[in-house]
Amino acid sequence: MRPAEGRVIDGSGAASGGLLTELRRRRDERPHAAAIRTARQTGGDHLVTWAQLYDAARAVVAGAVALPPGAPVLVIVDNTPASAAALIGLTAAGVDVLPVEEGSSYLADLLAPARNPGVRTVVGPDGAAGTEPAGIDFLSYERCRADPVGAGGVPARRPGEVLQLTSGSAGEPKIVRHPVDNVRHGGHTYRQILGLTPADVLVAAVPLAHSFGLVGALAAAVVSGAGLRTMRRFQPGRVADALTEDATVLFGTPLLYRLLTPVLRRRATPARLRAAVSSGGPLAADLGERARAALGVPVCQFYGSTETGLISYQPDFAGGAPDPSVGVPAPGVRLRLVSVDPDGAPGVGHLSVRTPTLFHGYLGASGPVTTPDGFYDTGDLARIDTGGRLHLLGRKDTFVNVGGRKVNPTRVARVLGDHPGVRDVFVFGATDAGGEQRVQAAVVLGPGTGPAELAEHCRTRGLAPYEVPHEFHRLPRLPRTAMGKVDRQAVVAAVVPVPIGSEA
């Protein structure tokens, strides 16, 4: 199979030295231009200029000398300029950072003594203090800064790594290691693909803690000089306001477009919007059409993973025929299909990729993550059409995709299994009529235990709202295969018609 290849990245404007070097250029070019603007929940915004963002990041570099050497820092990312400065400054100081979304249930898991990957410091917004176990220091974004003049902190020779949580294809989540240069390089890829300039205003309706927001929105803004608008908590009204005002590029998930489209009914068509990007899961064709009518531009799907960065994208930002593919390979990306069945359809196989932003391995694991020639097996079943576009035919992952957030069913099942009234449990995802995935739990219960108690148990144990099963199904026993494994198909067939609780 001849590998398809994207255009080679032009590299113009690319510089080594991580995001801080790029940020300094923005400060030099347009110090007083708006860099990041974050909508406050209660109205109004928090705005910083490029000069202010650079100064804040530089002060974080200086403050980093006080951190325990060699220990990764967990950064709770609330999408504010201060959280962005912390990420950029810490990595520039050589500190490995583990960005986690505000409110993530993984925060408690990661800091539990048995699972902690060496974190001794948590950096986050003021309100997040007090949740960390003994022996872990909490620093607010402001308190991890020091006056850079005379404090001695200088950017490190080896920038820190960005450690990212991934749901894992099965079992427990893993932590993916990326040199911060992958984030910078990924930002340049988005800049090149979208043609970003300082005249652009990007709207991140996605968390900056995850790779799509971190690379596609934050890093792309920093390397291109485009302004970035973010929000603390997802609010479709604020996204609509930004679109009406000055936004040129929107980053969202399919669920964002589902929630935003009705809200846009009551607003003028976005005046400056020239690209709408969707990532985090497949975008249903009918939703794509409705969103396009409301936005005035098509919603283009971008496909990638935490391990690889961007793999492919739909390039027809201004319009074109509906595109059922996930587009063409991103710059510098090579695709290879490994045939599963020698007699199978030609051009179909497991997708392996070589990307310029490939991860360096999982934290705490050794061994190669690629073939000797640098290809990583995504596990996804795919096809490449005669026009060179990539089509996804099946995902290997068992995670449940709730509005772009990946829920690990094994972890939810473990929490449920800890409840004394639960005798057996199987957790899986089901897609509803609107095309959204929901978490389903099939449970074998002891007498006196009901779904209300189980939902409360999940919340008490710290699962995030989107992780708590949306439906519980009571079964007399779980169907199992001859090998003793839960028979997924039989469970799905047995439970999908009537969830318990719906008749309550």
Binding site: F234, P236, P262, R265, R266, G403, A452, A455, G501
Partner: protein
């Protein structure tokens, strides 16, 4: 039965409580703080439109539009009840009640 703010608010509190597998929410309790997520929010709004939506697709869609924006700003039963009343949408208008 009356269809003032407190009645509509009670209906919404009940729908929210059902989506969260718990008792009804008080008028000033926040749905997201109580464990709601976007998927459940969409469910609650759909049920709300079903039980008290105005007749006719166009008006129902206008209500949906306002409710969707509102629930992410003020996710309390009282907050959403005000929107329903402003749209003259009250439980029973669609011919169904919240309990069925």
């Amino acid at each position: 039965m009356g269809n003032g703010l407190s009645d509509v608010s009670a209906t919404i509190g009940e729908l929210m409580g059902r989506a969260l597998l718990r008792g009804p929410l008080a008028p000033d309790e926040d749905f997201f703080d109580c464990g709601g997520d976007s998927v459940r929010a969409v469910d609650v709004l759909q049920q709300l439109i079903d039980v008290c939506g105005p007749p006719g697709t166009e008006t129902a869609e206008a209500l949906r539009s306002t409710l969707l924006e509102t629930i992410f700003e003020d996710a309390t039963p009282a907050g959403l009840a005000k929107v329903c009343l402003a749209h003259a949408a009250v439980p029973g208008a669609a011919g169904g009640g919240p309990s069925h």
